[in-house]
Symmetry: C2
Subunit: 184 residues, 2 copies
């Protein structure tokens, strides 16, 4: 069984739900690990993956997500979690008052499979809503409306969110890889 | 001669000026190094110092500074540089509209001296101004007024800023140590 290393219960819920739909059970392990500062989510994730090797036995994966707001030069980017815990949704809404509101979410999953590291990503374009809406999900979900939708991610249930989200896209790439390589 | 590792010219100017006043010349080296994500500036600096060992010959020091705004739960904290490059001074002012404005700057200098690492810090309480003022310095200097002053750090010249600033306090602790240990 493969291990998902995360301290975020919301991420575990979403990813384990999607994988279970495809017949894959995963183990949850909370391991403290360092993340480097940087603008490149792929690089941050890769470095974290290298850091965790030796702390976790067997194959594992981890997940990094950033929110990039165009009118804010990409803020909060890879520091979405820190921004969420300090200025929160209201701070982000305030920063965007009166400006255009395009943004995207980017998820990168890094899988350690034997001696290799593979990455799977998912990107969703969208807009930051005018107000917080919905109570599902976590993080900036209440203020992000995926392109082509009229609800925030927090107004969607788990299944709907996975269908539209950056994380859902990335995890389905991971699932496809696991199925093809028969690694469950 | 001791080496100051930084990619920030403003930091080099301020610190080398203060050290020269005390008869200490330093060398400037731009070395790329990783910073971990975290809330503790001392820890971030220590880890960076360990990362740089092996890349720099001889004794060296580096400097980390965070800006912690009380009404924003410490934001932008150790991510001051990232926040400056994305939302900038205007973003910070917007986040603080209508709220109280207390904040502090914290600088940590980590010195590698032989096989040891020593840390010197400087903290300055103050307030975030209502508007940007002044054009000296860098970063959030135009919006930070040290306690007991009526001007922002960017309205002060180099000498004045060093007298009042977090960085000035930290570097004078470093200077005292270097003088006492005869390490110049």
């Amino acid at each position: 069984m493969i291990t998902f290393v995360t301290s975020n219960e919301g991420k575990f819920m979403e990813i384990s739900h999607e994988m279970r739909q495809h017949g894959i059970e995963i183990r949850w392990e909370k391991v403290e690990y360092d993340e480097i500062q940087g603008n490149d989510t792929h690089e941050i994730s890769l470095r974290s993956c290298n850091d965790i090797m030796g702390k976790v036995t067997g194959d594992f994966f981890l997940e990094d997500t950033g929110l990039y707001c165009t009118p804010l030069n990409g803020f909060p980017g890879p520091y979405a979690k820190y921004a969420q815990h300090t200025i929160g949704n209201r701070g982000l809404l305030r920063l965007l008052e009166g400006s255009e509101r395009s943004a995207y979410f980017l998820t990168v999953i890094s899988l350690r499979h034997g001696n290799r590291v593979l990455q799977f990503d998912g990107k969703v374009n969208g807009t930051i809503s005018e107000n917080e809406k919905g109570s599902n999900g976590f993080g900036f979900d209440p203020v992000f409306i995926p392109e082509g939708q009229d609800r925030t991610l927090a107004e969607m249930n788990l299944q709907e969110k996975n269908a539209f989200s950056h994380r859902g896209i990335a995890v389905r790439k991971l699932i496809r890889y696991l199925q093809e390589s028969n690694l469950k």
